[in-house]
């Protein structure tokens, strides 16, 4: 029978690859989240304890990630740093994405003068240089996690807003919007049901990208001497303060915090990609999940 003769389509291989990617991403994210949640209560870290005698030890069994230039264990600091940085990154990304999507969707879906006014406000907002606002906000309060979150969240929603608005303007002209209007959908319903789901991939990408970007901001602020207190472990400060040791030939204080930024980001991106395809399946990707 013809059914038996069907060869295995290349799709199946791709599917397993996809599944694997999804599983790995999920495991990694879960692992990091668990580490961040469980390790701090179990293993306390005295943020200000230094051990000048154990300075710059390369990775070993005692210190799997080695120690930094004042003798602190890097593994523990990375985990603690990830906690702070994930908080900064995720909260800032959420703020930016929710705000940006809401404003962009409102402007795009309502159109006309509302759109113009809102977008000019967005322009005004986006013209405040990010780092500058960061500097002011951080200076207004004292250096810490929340000023960084606020400054990143408050400045970065504008690009999301613009992207969302542009996509919505393009979606708005699709014939299926006519169908929804005729079906009695209110503007809000239209936005919620048809427009926003259409721009979620874009907004989601912005959100995922915002996470490393927020960490970036945090370290840029410390570079300018305005970020988190530099003795407090955060991935940004770890990377930022490891530069000197790298030039002197010690690679581990840079490598591990760097990996701690990049690996979770990639894992989150992997998850977001999977979620996106579930939400927005298209011809080709349908099977690959």
């Amino acid at each position: 029978m013809a059914d038996l003769a069907l060869p295995t389509a290349p799709g199946r291989v791709a599917r397993t690859a996809r599944t694997w990617k999804l599983r790995i991403s999920a495991t990694l994210v879960a692992g990091f989240v668990l580490a961040v949640l469980l390790v701090p209560p179990l293993v306390g870290l005295d943020e200000q304890a230094v051990d000048l005698g154990a300075k710059l030890l390369p990775p070993s069994l005692d210190h799997p990630f080695g120690t930094d230039d004042v003798g602190r264990d890097l593994l523990l600091r990375c985990v603690y740093g990830l906690r702070v940085s994930l908080l900064v990154g995720v909260v800032a990304a959420l703020v930016a994405t929710v705000l940006g999507t809401a404003v962009g969707a409102a402007a795009g879906a309502l159109g006309g003068w509302t759109d113009r006014l809102v977008m000019r406000c967005v322009d005004a907002f986006s013209s405040v240089p990010h780092l500058l606002l960061g500097i002011f906000i951080v200076a207004l309060f004292r250096p810490g996690v929340w000023p960084v979150v606020v400054s990143v969240g408050l400045t970065h929603w504008v690009s999301t807003a613009r992207i969302v608005r542009a996509e919505i303007l393009s979606l708005r002209a699709r014939p299926y919007i006519d169908a929804a209007v005729s079906g009695g959908a209110s503007r809000l319903r239209l936005a919620r049901r048809h427009l926003i789901p259409g721009v979620l991939p874009q907004a989601g990408l912005a959100a995922v990208l915002m996470i490393p970007h927020a960490i970036w901001h945090e370290s840029a602020l410390s570079f300018l001497g305005l970020g988190l207190p530099t003795h407090q472990a955060s991935l940004g400060t770890l990377v930022q303060s490891a530069r000197g040791t790298l030039l002197a030939g010690d690679w581990w204080p840079t490598l591990f915090p760097g990996l701690f930024i990049i690996v979770p980001t990639l894992a989150i991106a992997g998850l977001a990609g999977a979620w996106r395809e579930r939400l927005n399946p298209r011809r080709r990707s349908e099977l690959m999940l």
Binding site: D178, A179, A180, S182, G184, R187, R193, P197
Partner: protein, 237 residues
């Protein structure tokens, strides 16, 4: 009763597509609209369904003039029309499963209770099997999608049906079946019908009366006319 009074509409004020068209649908009447391709039938249908603002002229629904178009029209007026669009692929949100596609108007008008059942029921009347309801538009054939679109148009039980070449891409049997569904619905509810199409035989058979585009008092010129464009185009061999 639906009155389209000296409507002029189009996409560029300087060159309207529909010019000074007047058409009246008596209550419960089925009117077929015939016309050459590109003459403005779909545009007129969109205006009639309050989806496109005409440059001038009025749409009067049951004696009440339309107060606006698209979102400016009150919901009650908008949902008095069930519209089946010409191109099912374009008029279905690619993200919605057919079940949601059909149920969406119910939910959008604040009647989410039992929407799913109602949708399944309506889908059944247009001949959509339950296994199709879980699929998304790109996983069904164009004809199946068109059936879903018809179900969507019927689900709010509109007083007016606007079918823009609903059967253009359907085989004879499905056409007959869907026409049957529409007729059944009209018998039940007394809804009026504006059916746009090219197939005179079909429209004659389906509708109470069939009007030609050219009879609508619309003067048209330019390319999208009854005259075959080929005859105007110098580059035709």
């Amino acid at each position: 009763m639906l009155e389209l009074l000296s409507l002029t509409a189009g996409y560029d004020r300087r060159a309207p597509v529909v010019r000074d068209v007047t058409l009246t649908l008596a209550p419960g009447e089925a009117v077929g609209l015939l016309g050459p391709s590109g003459c403005g039938k779909s545009t007129l249908a969109r205006v009639a369904a309050l989806l496109h603002r005409p440059d001038s002229g009025r749409v009067v629904i049951d004696g009440e003039p339309a107060r606006g178009y698209r979102h400016r029209a009150p919901r009650a007026q908008r949902t008095a029309f069930g519209v089946v669009f010409q191109q099912p692929r374009q008029s279905a949100d690619p993200r919605l499963r057919l079940a949601d596609l059909i149920a969406e108007p119910l939910r959008a008008t604040g009647r989410p209770e039992g929407a799913a059942d109602k949708a399944a029921e309506t889908a059944d009347t247009v001949g959509l099997g339950s296994d199709l309801l879980g699929r998304r538009p790109h996983e069904v054939s164009d004809g199946q999608l068109q059936r879903a679109c018809l179900a969507r148009a019927l689900i709010l039980r509109p007083r007016y049906l606007v079918c823009d070449e609903m059967t253009a891409m359907l085989d004879a049997s499905t056409t007959a079946a869907l026409v049957g569904v529409v007729e059944e619905y009209r018998r039940e509810t007394g809804a009026a019908l504006l059916a746009v199409g090219h197939d005179r035989v079909l429209l004659d058979r389906w509708c109470d009366r069939t009007v030609e585009w050219s009879e609508l008092g619309s003067r048209h010129d330019g390319l999208a006319t009854a005259k075959p464009p080929a005859e105007q185009s110098p580059s035709v061999r």
